[in-house]
Subunit: 136 residues, 4 copies
Amino acid sequence: MSYARQMLDAYPGMISIDASVLARTIEALTDCAQACTADTDDDLSEPNVTEMVTCIRLCLDCVDVCTATAAVASRQREELSPAVMTPLLEACAATCASCAEECERHADMHVHCRVCAEACRRGEQASRELLAAIGS
Amino acid sequence: MSYARQMLDAYPGMISIDASVLARTIEALTDCAQACTADTDDDLSEPNVTEMVTCIRLCLDCVDVCTATAAVASRQREELSPAVMTPLLEACAATCASCAEECERHADMHVHCRVCAEACRRGEQASRELLAAIGS
Amino acid sequence: MSYARQMLDAYPGMISIDASVLARTIEALTDCAQACTADTDDDLSEPNVTEMVTCIRLCLDCVDVCTATAAVASRQREELSPAVMTPLLEACAATCASCAEECERHADMHVHCRVCAEACRRGEQASRELLAAIGS
Amino acid sequence: MSYARQMLDAYPGMISIDASVLARTIEALTDCAQACTADTDDDLSEPNVTEMVTCIRLCLDCVDVCTATAAVASRQREELSPAVMTPLLEACAATCASCAEECERHADMHVHCRVCAEACRRGEQASRELLAAIGS
């Protein structure tokens, strides 16, 4: 079992959202941030780095937004704040989607972009699942 | 002149948003993140820490969202992505507002909460100004 | 296979360190940061929060140092910089150890501290393994 | 007066280190992280991006290490932990120095690298000053 899930199960208070959805989102966004950090560096090692500039920028955005969203989601257990979580998850889904789309363009040429695209699509989906779970 | 502004002035490309608004937002959100990091620690040093729990949680959220938003804003110079920036700035304004509101409740008792509330209100306002500047 | 490992395997350049050790470190530090973020929030929900103040502070430090170390480690593949990596991994091992020690003190009372202590010990060990692998 | 300084002055406990040195370090590292975030994006906009790859990588490391060090320094007021702070500040000084050195190589050609080099040198100096103040 992941630490995200173990920590949720050990939570001393009441959890207001489905714990499986919440744990899955935290894991997916953490994985996505990690894949995008690595992909940025992979892109910088490619001979055609000039063509990877957009991919690098979007990966950097994705790291920042996924990391923040995973952290905030870890604090929204007892009392959910839709005013913050709804737009944050929307921003996160949009960043993951943009990054996935760009990575998919390079997926045939670069294995690392294919793997990163997959992590971003999971991040996007997890953000949308949590949005649905909080009724947004 | 702040580094945020100097770096914008040295930008090799075209900036699509008003550089003053962009620099002001980056500075205000960086300041807000810094104030909230310190306020979290101040709250933890208070004898009435039990009453500061909500303040600590909101400050931690504010650090995460402001840091991510300032970083993403630093990468949105040439081509703005409203699909990401609009909800991210909305989440940022909402987080800053929640944190400011809670800090204001403690402002009479704790100077650090008064100072932090001020930084959060500036962060909220800067997020809204940038939202207006990008036409959202 | 974890994304950290998949991304290392897809790396276009030469990796100067043992890829298994590097992947394990990145994963362990990411897991540790995630567990500490959750544990901070768990501690804040405990009725005896006054006794958890040191634990909260150490968890917050652990999140910051593990996140930075995992990210820098993700960029040290081709050319390792011992001047940066050696002290950073030492700081990371020390932060994980301090946090683990404090969490272990609360492990009998709070399951979340027991789980977090385990994640911190793995983070500490992984930092030391990578230190050994880079010959420091 | 900066928020870092105002928050230190409002601290409810005793501060074990010289508050001016501590505030200056937090500010310098926050500024450095901000400048490096912007410089990464500036480098990505340069036509000779292939030659800027090392600069981009070092800037990204600098953002991660400075952000973590500033945050941990904000929590080391009452009880300093030299086991963590000493290697962390050493890693921070080394990262700032490497990034400054690389940025200085491009300073004649790119104004943004000149500004970023200045922010990194200030970050390096501030890290060393705090190291001296804590007796390391």
